[in-house]
Structure formats: structure tokens, C-alpha cells
Symmetry: C2
Subunit: 607 residues, 2 copies
């Protein structure tokens, strides 16, 4: 014992003891079911974020009353124990922080603790695996062959083929995932590892088509270290920003080698839930043939962006050129030398404008409201670099630790961490922003200057990650009409609210997407969509993110007001990390493990 202590430098010794003491005190209070004692271990303005471990929900409680309430409702059945420093996750980022681990009655948890004056300021608890249902990986990996002599042995291929033939026909999947993009695929991989029979249905012919079919200049705006799927990292030669066709090929490969039951060319037509039988009826059309699946759980993974929003504009029926939503835009090649009007000023609008300009189209961007712009290099260096970068990897940061670090900051105070980052970006790129504004571009940094990532969480829109288009806007190569709206279309032009008429061969509506529950309205019923309510957004009360405060993304990866209906989506980082918690929730239900939900969210907005 003495040796262990003297081995450590003096400055971490104090904190170590503080963390260890806090964990011991917390465990003692919880074991004694002494909620009063537990509550005294938190500072007044504390946050406890729980991902499934205590709450069978994704929820953040705030303040001592929040902690008391969570414990009062969950302690007796969670039976937490074994709180300890998670040495296997390495050192935490600061002296007053620590990775932690613990057990519950049914699983093993990991988490993170930030102390202030010896008390918990932020606590993250996550369920990492279910006891008795650990994933068959590393030292639990399958052997691949049953040694010995086995009469009428079935090979791996024969077993795999039989499963694929029977599932959905002779046997029913426990889960149907609608949508086979990155979200559906990542979740499908986790469920496969947990032994949850799952079918992913996707209307496209090939896995990866959700990327492959988009405009040809598209690349991921997030860097590779942020984008790994579960289980298989991108190789070290993978580009920083994946071109869309390359990520599409990767997803297709991944789907294959992870042995997902991925039904391509399959459209989900309608679904209804039988509350008595606790079962969905899901009608699909697979390669033209209608059939019915009867899963216990239904996951909509049709894209966090939801359904394309197409504005209603007078004259859309008389315009004789091409017009389509950005999600349908094929790329610039057919429009060389043509006049294009792109309505919108977020990521897709910028990408499409730049690609059209590159082939020699005459391009005008119609900016209807202000937009945040961050230069990609600045974001990489100043916002993501500490967790997701080559240098982070070189200094021992793993994807798991980065994801957990990210998750450890409560949404309520996340903007406070973000504002200084964007202040610094604004200063660093002052000339860039000045040029952009001089060209008439309406720029913002979010209602509270917290920048891009908060906009993503709050509203999923309102920004452009600059990879080159902003210079074209600044120097006038991409013409800009800002602070205007479209009044009407003629046969060959767009008429704006400032009185200008823009001749057009092509109109692209880069006008965004609705809430994911729009898919539920289409597939299930408007009633169920209304019962579930809006997806995404934190309830921050900022633009397009109406309150009340929710504290977590609405309806994402957690129970909704509709039993057995789940929403999964987000960027590759979110699809990777949160698919774990959704998969564990589904697995627990399949195994009949009690999953009483603490803090099921109320519905305040329909869409």
C-alpha cells in the first residue's frame, strides 16, 4: 500500500485519494439506501447523466433534487456496487476527474466523475454490458469451428445461409430496423453481436447507397477519427474526409463481413403495433413482393434529418427547368454553362453551389436567414483535435475514451465549453469572416455564440463547414442574394422578395429536413407521430429549438411514448456511440430483463 502511494507523483495523489474516497462514500450511501447521504456528495449545481445504467433511459438530472429523485426511483432495483476507478481507461484529462466503473443488478457500467471541492459536479453513468449477455469478442470470440467429429456438421456458410433464408419467413426477427444507412448498420452490428435477431430494411439496392446516391462532390465534413463504426476502425490510410462513394463502399463491406441481415431493395410500406400482442405488423415490399414481418421492436433509422422539407412556392408547377430537393441533386455535370439557383445556405447549399461553379455553371445562392460558418481546418484544430485527431490517437486517446469524454459533459452546460472555442475561431479567422460579411453574407455564431455543434444538437441545421465555398461567395463567384425569400417561380426564373428575377435552368431546394417523427406519421399513423412528438433538439429555447428544457435529444436512442418504437440516427459518431445503449435496451427487453423507465420524456412539440 505504501509502495503504491509513493509510486505516484505528489500532485495526483491528493486527487486520487479524493476520487477514491468519493466513490467509497457514494457506494456506502447507496448500499445503505441512504439517499440523504448520497445527495450530500454532490454540489448544488450538479449534473448526473445516465445512459441506461440506472434509468433504462437516456436522461440527465440536475441539482441535488434531481439526484435525489433519480435515486429514489431507481436505487432499489439497480443495486449499484463496486464503484472504482476504471484504471483500464487510463488517466482522466484533469486532476479532478476520473474514469469510473461499477456494477448494477443486471450489468456492468462505465462512467466519468468530475469533482469540485471534493463533491461531484458532473457524473456520467453508462451501461456497458449485460451480465450473462456479454458480446462474443476478444477472449469470448467464437472459435469458428467445433473441434472434434460432429456427424452432419453444418459449416459456417450453411448456418449463415439457413439463418438468412429462415429469418423473416420461418422465424421472425425480434427487431426490424427501417433504414440501412450508417445508423441502421451500426445498430445492426451491435444487435448481431448481442444475438438479437434483426432485419434491416432499406429501399436502395446496395448498402451504402444512402451516401452513394447523393450529389457527387459530397465528402464527409467530419474527420475520420470521429467516424469509425463499431468493431472495425477505418485503416490508417483512410482519408481524413471520406468521399461519399468510398464511405459507401466501406458500409457495404461492413454490412457483409459483420453478417447483417440487410434487406436491400426493400421498402417499408406501413407498420402498426398490436398493444395486446406486444408486436408490430410491418408490411414491406422486398424486390417488388409484399410481405409482412412481425417484430417485437421497431427502430426508425431513416436519417436524423428526417423527411426532406420542400417549400411550397407559387409557380413550382409552371417552372420548366429542373428542380429538386438537395437530397435528390445528382451533381453538377449536366449543368455546365447553365444558370442555377440554390435556395438555402447551409452545408448542402454551399457544397452544391461550389460543385456547380466548378463545372462552369452560373450559380446564385439565396440566403433566407443567417448561417453559421466554421472553416474545416479551424474546427479540426480547435474544436475536435483534443479528442478526434491523429495527435489525439498518438497520445493514447481511444475512440471509446473520446466518446465517453464527449458524453460526460451535460448538455445544459455544453455551450459554456463551446463558446470560448468559437470565440477563438472567430478571432483566428477574423479576415475570412470580414470578407464573407462584406459580400453580404448573413453570418451568425448561434444565439449564444456557442457555434456549430450546439446548432447541430439544438436544431440540426443552420451552419456550413467551410471547405472552400465561402471564398467563392466572398469573391462573388457564387452570386449571393441574402436576406430575401422566394416569392414565386416563372417558367424560367426565380422571383425574389427584393424584386429581383433570377433566370434559372435549375433550382435546388437546399431547404432542409423535417423531424424524424414525420417518418412515423407516414409509416405508422399521424396519431402515433403526434403521440411520440418531435425528435431531436434539447429544448434550449434558441432558434428552432423551442423549450421547455429537455436535457437530452428528444426521442433519440431511448424509449418514446409509443411502446416498442425507437428512433436511431445522427452522425457517424452518434450512430457509433449511442447504438450501444439502444442495442442494450433492446437486448434487455428480448431477454425479459425488467426495464422500468425513469423519466420518460413528455411531448411538447408535434414536429
Amino acid at each position: 500500500m505504501t509502495e503504491t502511494i509513493t509510486d505516484r507523483p505528489v500532485d495526483t495523489l491528493g486527487t486520487r485519494t479524493e476520487v477514491t474516497r468519493w466513490l467509497a462514500d457514494f457506494e456506502k450511501a447507496l448500499t445503505a439506501r441512504d439517499i440523504d447521504a448520497a445527495a450530500t456528495l454532490f454540489v448544488e449545481d450538479c449534473y448526473w447523466r445516465d445512459l441506461v445504467a440506472f434509468t433504462w433511459n437516456i436522461v440527465t438530472v440536475e441539482g441535488i433534487e434531481g439526484v435525489r429523485d433519480l435515486l429514489a426511483q431507481t436505487l432499489d432495483r439497480t443495486l449499484p456496487s463496486g464503484f472504482a476507478v476504471a484504471e483500464e481507461l487510463g488517466e482522466a484529462a484533469a486532476d479532478t476527474e476520473s474514469w469510473i466503473k461499477f456494477d448494477t443488478s443486471v450489468g456492468r457500467g462505465l462512467g466519468h466523475l468530475r469533482l469540485r471541492d471534493g463533491k461531484a459536479w458532473t457524473l456520467l453513468t453508462t451501461l456497458n454490458e449485460l451480465k450473462g449477455h456479454e458480446e462474443p469478442k476478444r477472449d469470448r470470440r467464437p472459435k469458428g469451428i467445433e473441434h472434434g467429429a460432429v456427424p452432419n456438421r453444418q459449416t459456417w456458410l450453411e448456418q449463415r445461409r439457413r439463418e438468412a433464408e429462415e429469418l423473416g419467413h420461418a422465424t421472425q426477427p425480434y427487431v426490424v430496423v427501417v433504414g440501412g444507412g450508417q445508423g441502421g448498420i451500426a445498430l445492426g452490428a451491435r444487435l448481431r453481436q448481442l444475438g438479437v435477431p434483426t432485419i434491416i430494411v432499406d429501399r436502395n439496392p446496395r448498402a451504402g447507397d444512402s451516401w452513394r446516391k447523393r450529389y457527387k462532390s459530397l465528402t464527409l465534413h467530419d474527420p475520420v477519427w470521429y467516424d469509425h463504426l463499431p468493431y472495425i476502425d477505418f485503416p490508417p490510410n483512410w482519408p481524413v474526409f471520406s468521399p461519399k462513394d468510398k464511405i459507401a463502399d466501406w458500409l457495404e463491406m461492413y454490412t457483409r463481413v459483420m453478417e447483417l441481415n440487410y434487406w436491400s431493395s426493400t421498402e417499408c410500406r406501413r407498420a402498426s403495433y398490436d398493444e395486446a400482442a406486444k408486436e408490430w405488423t410491418v408490411v414491406i415490399q422486398r424486390e417488388g413482393v409484399e410481405m409482412t414481418l412481425r417484430p417485437k421492436q421497431l427502430v426508425l433509422a431513416t436519417g436524423m434529418s428526417g423527411k426532406p422539407s420542400l417549400p411550397k412556392i407559387d409557380g413550382m408547377d409552371v417552372f420548366k427547368g429542373d428542380q429538386h430537393h438537395s437530397s435528390e441533386h445528382p451533381g453538377p455535370d449536366a449543368y455546365s454553362g447553365k444558370k442555377a439557383v440554390v435556395i438555402g445556405s447551409n452545408n448542402s447549399a454551399h457544397d452544391i453551389c461550389a460543385a456547380l461553379w466548378e463545372v462552369g455553371a452560373d450559380v446564385t445562392m439565396v440566403q433566407r436567414s443567417s448561417t453559421h460558418v466554421s472553416r474545416s481546418d479551424s474546427l479540426m484544430e480547435m474544436a475536435l483535435g483534443a479528442l478526434y485527431s491523429e495527435s489525439a490517437v498518438a497520445s493514447g486517446m481511444t475512440t471509446q475514451k473520446a466518446d465517453m469524454t464527449f458524453a460526460s459533459i451535460p448538455y445544459r452546460i455544453l455551450h459554456l465549453f463551446q463558446i470560448p472555442v468559437y470565440d477563438a475561431i472567430r478571432e483566428r479567422d477574423a479576415d475570412f469572416y470580414a470578407r464573407l460579411e462584406k459580400a453580404g453574407f448573413m453570418l451568425d455564431f448561434g444565439d449564444d455564440n456557442s457555434g456549430l455543434f450546439m446548432k447541430y444538437l439544438r436544431r440540426g441545421s443552420g451552419y456550413y463547414i467551410d471547405v472552400g465555398a465561402s471564398d467563392l461567395v466572398a469573391n462573388g463567384d457564387i452570386k449571393l442574394e441574402s436576406g430575401v425569400d422566394v416569392v414565386r417561380l416563372t417558367e424560367d426564373a426565380v422571383v425574389l422578395s427584393n424584386g429581383k428575377t433570377l433566370p434559372a435552368d435549375l433550382i435546388v431546394y437546399a431547404t432542409g429536413y423535417g423531424s424524424m417523427n414525420g417518418w412515423a406519421a407516414d409509416l405508422i399513423s399521424p396519431e402515433v407521430a403526434a403521440k411520440v412528438g418531435k425528435c431531436w433538439g434539447l429544448g434550449s429555447g434558441t432558434a428552432k429549438d423551442p423549450g421547455p428544457w429537455e436535457g437530452e435529444l428528444r426521442n433519440m436512442w431511448k424509449p418514446t411514448q409509443q411502446e416498442a418504437l425507437w428512433f436511431h440516427g445522427g452522425n457517424l459518431h452518434q450512430s457509433r456511440h449511442y447504438s450501444l445503449y439502444l442495442a442494450l435496451q433492446l437486448k434487455a427487453r428480448m431477454e425479459g430483463i425488467p426495464t422500468p423507465v425513469y423519466g420518460l420524456q413528455e411531448v411538447h412539440h408535434l414536429s
Copy 2:
């Protein structure tokens, strides 16, 4: 400096200093071109194994005279410098060992040093990368998008398609690799990263078919940790022993995501080398159409096992049942209830016998000569576990370190490391071996009791890794005729040298493979095959590995007597590790870097 030293435990301090001092002395001697001084740093019975760094060859020199000779012929142009402990590879396995790094005039090297009494006993030097031609990975990875506005930009997909369309037509590959199994694929991936235009031709319709098309019960006999390809590790859920169709799918996906120019359904018909033009003419038939490729380098990666050896037996033309070489065996399904005779007693023979028995065939194995058998579990635990296992990974062993550790033991003394392992296996599995021998099985552990891996290196045959068939042999379920040969076939039976007649519906010739230079005879000419000579084998003078002593595997991954002709192959471990050195040799030649070969092997055997 003082702090650094006092930080280290005392026992490694001495060694550390010893290693550091040796490296400093070695560098000093080499810098002064003082071969006498350098030679005094080695013990009498020393070994220096060099993989390309000093010799542009794969060669081991022995004894002080060997060291002197190598230095005399390579020192002036190699200009080695910067010898240091390679801290980035971590701690070596023992106190008297160390990972080392160094520079040469053209590249950066890694290596390993074992001291005895302060002098070098074994020295491994390997070329790890060429200066100015580093692979675009990690912090050199491509960005994936050229930021900014680029008129007439080509997307990744467009560039990739154009390259695929032009290569072999408008442009010529620098390298053609014949054979797209694991070897050709691993090499192709390395060459792609090094920017060496390469086409891999394979006669099968799909990458992976070299596994996919083999007998259906086949799984890899090597465990997953031993089998990783370069750049992308198998995921943590991958089976210990890959079923053949699963590894086939992995190879196919790998080929795709690594963007290899893999020409499937393409047969190499003939090749000839123009000594004046320094160019090959390679005639291929691609999807039925004949065309000519003109690469500078030709790699035969058609399988280290070479061409199937089919015995010539009287009556093969009158036998009316099915008969085929093990490489053509489709699996057991058609032979349920039938009588099968399998000629041979190595891996394939055992696997095929067991699979036939499992479907209810009546199976006889004809053992013509003694065979080594090791139980898979024993091999995993006692022979491979320290380098290639889950526990090795958990304790920090990386694939690179494992491969380099393996490579650091000179072949001349490798059997001395192996004999105690197999002595222990023999003791551990004494009952198992007793039962086998009691059933009449002719068992051996190699001429010098060095077991399976030495047999693999020396002759590439003569063993079975038991995954269950041996029990069937021992208990008589698989009938055994041992110490006999086949005299002739009748219409429906096999007649043995012991006078017995075995009725047969099926005969499988599990009779092994010839030397890889047999492919050269077919594709190029018998003259070139003879000029190149036998591939594989160490020249140990043991059974089927005639001397003189070579010290390295003949013709593998290194220059041959035929300019611009190379052989690549081996198991997944070898394909992974040695493809690096072959790729660097090819890259250097493409870039016009001088590559004078030290110690080009002589030819002593034609096949």
C-alpha cells in the same frame, strides 16, 4: 539525465546501458568504416539477419566472418546511422534484448538485438520505409478532398474509375502479380500504398475464391491473431479459426476497400522477359479476351504450395468412381453412404476424411509415410500463445512486434527454440499420441523432434494440426492403412502394397504440391524455372529439405536468379509480414534507387 536513470529499476539499468553502449560502439565502428572494430562486437557464433535494409535481399549471415563479409560488401552504400533503442516498440522480452532503429542512406530501419556477454548474438535489421516514399498513413493520410474551389474537379470515384479503366490499356502497370489469394492481395495493398501501379490477375471470378472453392469443411488452422492482413485487423468478434467462406468474404471486401486493381476471371497464359528492354510481356485472358500487359516486374503469388502433385498410378484411367486432388475436392455432401479412400495423411487428408465421416461415408486413410500431429489447442497454448493470442494482445503485444520477434530468431537455431515446445506438447498429450500409435498411425515429430513449424519451413508438409480427425483415426471410425502405398486402381477399388483391396466410390489424392517454380515452368519456360530453381525450404538436410544450408526460404520475397521475377506466398502471417519487404524492393526499383543485391542465392535444386 540523472532523473532518467534513477527512474529505471536497477536491474534493467545495466542492460539498458549495455544495449545503448553496444549501439553506440556499433555506430562508431560503422561510421569509421572500421569492419574489424564492428566484428569484435559480435560473439563467435553470431547471426545477423537482414531483411532488405543492408543487403537488398533476405539473408542471414553467420559468425564473425559472415558479419565481416556482409559489411565489406554493403557498408559503403548503406551508410547506416542513428542506431538507437526503438522506444516506440516498447520493452523487449528479456533483459538482454532490445528493439532498435536506425537509418540508412535511403530508408529507415527497425530491428532487434540480443546480447550475450555484452556482444551481439543475434541481430535483426529490417527496412521499414524508404525516405521520401513513406506510406500515406496516419499523419500522412490523404485529406480525401481538396479544399477550395477547383474548376472541373474530379471526385474520388471519377479518379478511381479512370485509373481502373486506363491501367493495363493506356498505361502499363509497373508490377503484375499472378495469383490473387491472400499473398497477392496483401502485396497488392502494400504496393497501392507505395504508389506502385499494380494489377493482380486471378483466374477465379471473385477475390477470396481461392478459399471459397475448397472443401467445405475447411477452416484456417492458424488462429486469428496470426492472420491479420496489413492495415486492417480482423475485428474483435472474428472467430479464432476463420471458416473458409468467411475469410473469403473478408479478402473480397479488403480488395475492394483497399482499392486494388484486381482482375478476376483473368488467366495468365504466358510470360517472357525481354532482357534488353527490361520488361515482361505477360499474355492474359481476361473474361475470355486475350490481351498483353507489359510490366517491369512479375510476381508469382500462386500459392506457396505450388502446383498440385498428382501421383501416377496404374489404373487411374479405368477407375469409374470420382477421383480428384484434394485441391479440387468439393466437400463430402455427395458421398454420404459411399466408400472413400483418401491417399495421404497431412492436413487436407485429415480434414477431408473427417468431413466424409461426418456425413456417413465409409472412409479409409492411406498413410504412406509418417506424419507429425499436434493438437490445435496445444499449439495455440504452447507454441503461439506468447506472440499470437488474446492474452498476448492484452499484455501489449502488437502484430508488428510479434512478427518482428518471430523474424528475429535465425532459422539456423530456430529448431532449438522449437524442440522444448514439442517435448512439452508430447508430454502433455502423451495419452493422445499413445492412442494414435496404437491404431497404427505412423507418428513423428520431425527428424530432430522440432515439430510442426520447422516442417512447414523446411518442406511445407508432413503434418496435421488436429482439430478432431485424430480421434476418429484412433478409434477406427476413420479406417487406417499405414506404411503402405497404392499399387494400382481397378474399376472400383484401390489395391495397396500390403495386398489389400479397398472398394472405392471416391479417391481423393491428398498428395501435396510441387515447388512454386513449377508455375514458372508453365507460365514462362522450363529454362527459367530451372534457372530460378526450387522455392521454399531452408536446406536443413532433413527429409524433403535437401542441403546445402541456405539460411532463408529459397526464392521467397527476394531477388531470384531471373531478373525481375519474384515469388510471394506462405501463410497469412508470412504474406502479411514479408509483403512489406517485397513491396519495398519493388518500390525502390521503380524509383530508380540503387538496389545492389548482397548474397544472391545459388541454385542447387531444380524443384
